[in-house]
């Protein structure tokens, strides 16, 4: 349900596996976050986790979202370690009877991952590395669901 991985993953294969055999699910929303190159300004991302704690915390949040949005299922895949531009960083999948719940749950989970899940992101660029803080918008987005 929650997977941290230091290996590249294949988003299409994840979606196929998630969508299989769902005769009662009407709606699957998914979000895929890719490392942006920012036209050369970012050469790589580095993601750090506190592995068991991070998985457990994300799992608690997913369980809450599953109840709140009446999901049939949810899945989070998050890269850790070094990530090249264009590579998938995160994928969230949600399954529900109807589209509104699937969309909102996916949106809510992404907002959580951006500023509240125990993950730390470093950008490596021509000017050297810098730790990325959540933006004002990230914080406001996450607060929408409180």
């Amino acid at each position: 349900m929650i997977r941290l991985t230091d290996q590249a993953f294949e988003p299409g294969a994840e979606l196929t596996a998630f969508a299989r055999g769902r005769s009662e699910t009407g709606a699957i929303a998914s979000f895929l976050g890719l490392a942006r190159g920012d036209a050369g300004a970012a050469t790589a991302l580095e993601l750090e986790a506190y592995p068991e704690f991070t998985v457990a915390e994300i799992g608690k949040f997913v369980a809450t979202a599953t109840t709140r949005f009446e999901l049939y299922d949810a899945r989070v895949i998050h890269r850790i370690g070094a990530i090249a531009p264009g590579e998938p960083v995160v994928m969230v999948l949600t399954a529900a009877a109807h589209r509104r719940e699937a969309f909102e749950a996916c949106d809510c989970l992404m907002d959580y991952l951006k500023s509240r899940a125990p993950l730390w992101k470093k950008e490596h660029g021509p000017a050297g590395p810098r730790w990325v803080d959540p933006t004002t918008r990230d914080l406001a987005d996450a607060a929408r669901w409180d």
Binding site: G33, E52, H78, V90, A117, L119, W120, D133, P134, D138
Partner: protein, 82 residues
């Protein structure tokens, strides 16, 4: 009688280490903060900064908490994933 201390994100860069054993085990989280800060003023300032969370044996702790031998304490800076 040690506690294991873990630092993440920018706290690692400030302290220059990621994990260390502190011995003897301080009696509390606040006592541990003092021990770490006494040796490293930059780390003391960073740990007192906004948005630093403490995690004791994989549970988030607000404020202070007693420590026992073999506890694992992690200090977490503001989070940003995705």
């Amino acid at each position: 009688m040690t506690v294991q201390v873990l630092l993440f994100g920018k706290l690692c860069d400030v302290a220059g280490w990621r994990a260390r054993a502190v011995s003897p085990a301080p009696a509390s989280l606040n006592a541990l903060r003092l021990v770490l800060g006494k040796e490293d003023q930059a780390l003391a300032a960073a740990l007192a900064g906004p948005g630093i969370s403490a995690v004791l044996n994989r549970e988030i702790v607000r404020g202070d908490a007693p420590l026992a031998a073999n506890d694992e304490v992690a200090f977490l800076p503001p989070m940003s994933g995705g």
